[in-house]
């Protein structure tokens, strides 16, 4: 049998999960976890070269192969970071070996669920995959079994389930809109078939469906009025999971929204999904930017920063058009890389200091120079300072918005600036000044952190023409 990359991307994590659940010994587990993630990444990259035909359940196109390579890449680097992080957690007794086995298995189940959601050509399968991803992350958030962790997991569970439920209602409505045109049965849920016939769908039904989908999947993206689960889940779970949540899972939910946006765009009589996404995006951006100021917990602060950036990305996708879509895709990629890098640094910082309270940290550049400067570089990148990659993508979002509707651009720039202020204010406390708290050296793995930052930096300075062409191509697909 010949090598099938599509099957490999799904089966490697699935088998790895089963194997990890059975294997005792966390060192072997951590290595196997990273190895499986690397193999998944390799198969994901091969999707660029071998493009299987879309079937009723799975689909590979330019849009989702971009997402899947990003997901598997960050999945791999996070698994490397996770190995040293978990090592330390075991040492200080915060985690029991049994839980670590469970943790590694869940990590691969999460990878499987995200890959399935991205590759599915069926809106029902996509829903089930996102539900599975939600469930696994809930369990990982609660893994420390402390008051706070259980509360965060519970909140995430309830809010995530309501979001998932609303998304299912939207999915049923899309099927109902499709049924008179496409016919009953499986075809009514196959995305490629839907998009081919969406012109003839009942626009009113599609409108209502999209509102439900936006609220449902928007909860998982962490858009502003629906974001309440996000800061808790990021702050209380293990840090590798915060990195995966911010860097990947939010993207996957956004990807689901984009698929439905493309569906509505085909139908001229349906409501334009753009303005809804623009509004929610701006609300999230401005709200989260102000929330950055009063944070006492370092992971919670960066969780709000994720809401802010998901707001910018949703805004840019809502604006639409080749340039804004290009900017949004680039921003999403840069944000995933940078935010996960920041969480890698934050994870080690919190381990060194033994706390997540910002007030108890200080002088990090003196006590742990490598870690401190890594964090500073990450925050400079996430704040959108030149010459790093996020500067370029934010600049593109802002300039393309100024060209089309200056009023919105003013709100956008205001939100971004407020956010930058909040981040730098806290960074000052953490990184400079008198050293506070324990000053032990970190046993950190710096490779994932600096690999991400190097990628973000090089993307800001020079992007290869082929990469630009690829993103332009995907941006055109999104309409």
């Amino acid at each position: 049998m010949s090598f099938n990359p599509l099957a490999a991307v799904l089966l490697i994590p699935a088998f790895a999960a089963a194997l990890l659940a059975l294997l005792p010994g966390y060192r072997i587990g951590a290595r196997l976890n990273a190895l499986a993630a690397l193999a998944t990444l390799a198969s994901a990259i091969s999707l660029f070269f071998v493009r299987p035909q879309p079937g009723p359940y799975l689909l590979v196109d330019d849009l989702n192969s971009t997402f899947i390579v990003l997901t598997t890449f960050v999945g791999f680097t996070t698994s490397v970071f996770s190995a040293s992080y978990i090592d330390h957690e075991l040492e200080i007794g915060r985690l029991q070996p049994g839980f670590v086995r469970f943790y590694h298995a869940m990590y691969q189940v999460l990878m499987f669920a995200m890959n399935l959601a991205l590759l599915s050509n069926n809106i029902g399968v996509m829903w089930v995959a996102i539900e599975l991803a939600t469930l696994t992350t809930v369990m990982m958030v609660g893994i420390y079994r402390t008051h706070e962790a259980l509360e965060a997991a519970w909140k995430y569970f309830i809010l995530g389930s309501v979001g998932i439920a609303l998304a299912l209602f939207g999915t049923i409505l899309v099927y109902l809109a499709a049924r008179p045109v496409v016919g009953e049965g499986l075809d009514g849920m196959v995305w490629t078939t839907l998009v081919g016939h969406a012109r003839a769908f009942d626009p009113a039904l599609l409108d209502v469906a999209f509102v439900f989908l936006l609220l449902g999947y928007g909860t998982k993206v962490g858009l502003a009025p629906l974001h309440a689960w996000l800061p808790d889940a990021h702050a209380e779970g293990p840090t590798p999971i915060s990195a995966v949540l911010s860097g990947l899972l939010l993207n996957v939910a956004l990807y689901a929204l984009l698929r439905f946006k493309m569906l509505l765009a085909v139908n001229p009589a349906a409501l334009a999904p753009g303005p809804l996404m623009v509004t929610l995006g701006l609300i999230s951006l401005v709200f989260a930017a102000f929330m950055l100021y009063r944070r006492r917990d370092i992971k919670r602060m960066f969780a709000y920063s994720s809401i802010e950036h998901m707001g910018i990305i949703t805004f840019a996708f809502g604006m639409g058009g080749p340039l804004a879509n290009f900017a949004a895709l680039l921003h999403m990629t840069m944000h995933s890389l940078t935010k996960s890098a920041i969480f890698f640094a934050v994870g080690h910082v919190a381990q060194v200091k033994g706390t997540q309270r910002i007030a108890d940290m200080g002088g990090l550049t003196e006590t742990n120079p490598l870690l401190g400067w890594g964090l500073i570089l990450g925050v400079i990148a996430i704040a959108g300072m030149p010459p790093l990659g996020i500067f370029m993508s934010e600049f593109l979002v802002v300039s393309s918005t100024f060209a089309r509707s200056p009023a919105l651009a003013i709100v956008l720039v205001f939100g971004i600036l407020v956010g930058v202020g909040g981040l730098f204010l806290r960074l000052n406390t953490i990184a400079f000044g008198e050293p506070r708290g324990p000053t032990a050296k970190a046993q950190a793995s710096y490779v994932p952190l600096f690999a991400h930052l190097a990628l973000v930096l090089s993307a800001g300075i020079y992007m290869p023409a082929s990469l630009v062409a690829w993103f332009e191509n995907v941006a055109r697909l999104l309409g």
Binding site: N122, G124, V125, W127, V128, E131, L132, L135, V138, G142, R145, H147, E148, L150, E151, A153, W154, F157, I158, S161, V162, I164, A165, L166, L168, F169, I172, L173, Y175, L176, R179, P180, E184, G185, L186, G188, M189, D202, A204, L205, D207, V208, D232, A235, E236, R295, R296, D297, R300, Q356
Partner: protein
């Protein structure tokens, strides 16, 4: 479509909305769980009826699942859990019965207006089923926000989910319904196991969500 077929489907879906209203004003957890079991039982009947009139045997699986899992296993398990947690006393509702009922009526009216307006094309059975289903979903949401107690919220979520199953089975020929209902059952099982295994009561002294809030890292 045969008249009597339609009428029975209509009756069962309408009953679900009515039972959702019953749930809104139950102020004891025991009674609430009993009413929920009734809700799930009527759902099972409704799904079985849809399986019969649509000639879709796979829907019987969904019906059986609703009957066994949601009408029997979950209520019994929750009964035992609330005794173990010692919370089989009154439910504290955030808003009173009167305002909750009024809000519920408003939501049902909203569901009717929205769904009946946008589904001109669909056949009458699907239309009405959807309007009822959305009512049940919205009433479930309302229940989740009017309860402070975690078990009450879970019951609200489960009745919301019953509305979704009603919608999915009402949409004739929808694929993956069984798979989706299984996925939902797993979700619910995890919630219930979560309440039990995490021993929210022991850890937090209460399952009152407002009390949980105290432990947030944000407060100094």
């Amino acid at each position: 479509m045969n008249g009597i077929y339609f009428d029975i489907a209509h009756l069962l879906a309408g009953l679900l909305v009515l039972i959702s209203f019953f749930q809104l004003y139950q102020d004891r957890l025991y009674a609430l769980l009993n009413v929920f079991a009734l809700h799930a039982f009527v759902l099972a009947l409704s799904v079985a009826w849809q399986a019969f009139i649509q000639d879709a045997p796979h829907l019987y699986v969904t019906a059986a699942l609703a009957l066994l899992f949601k009408a029997i296993v979950i209520p019994v398990a929750l009964h035992r859990i609330i005794i173990r947690l010692g919370i089989h006393r009154e439910i504290e509702q955030v808003v009173g019965v009167g305002p909750a009922m009024l809000a519920g009526m408003g939501l049902v009216a909203l569901a009717m207006v929205v769904m009946l307006r946008v589904t001109h094309g669909a056949d009458p059975l699907t239309r009405e089923d959807l309007a009822f289903a959305l009512s049940v979903v919205l009433l479930g949401l309302l229940m989740m926000v009017t309860r402070r107690n975690a078990v009450g919220q879970v019951v609200g979520f489960m009745s919301l989910e019953n509305g979704l199953v009603l919608a999915a089975t009402g949409a004739k020929g929808m694929p993956l319904v069984v798979e989706i209902s299984v996925a939902f059952s797993i979700l619910i099982a995890f919630i219930v196991i979560g309440i039990f295994l995490f021993r929210i009561r022991e850890r937090f002294d209460t399952v009152d969500v407002q009390a949980l809030d105290r432990f947030r890292g944000e407060r100094p």
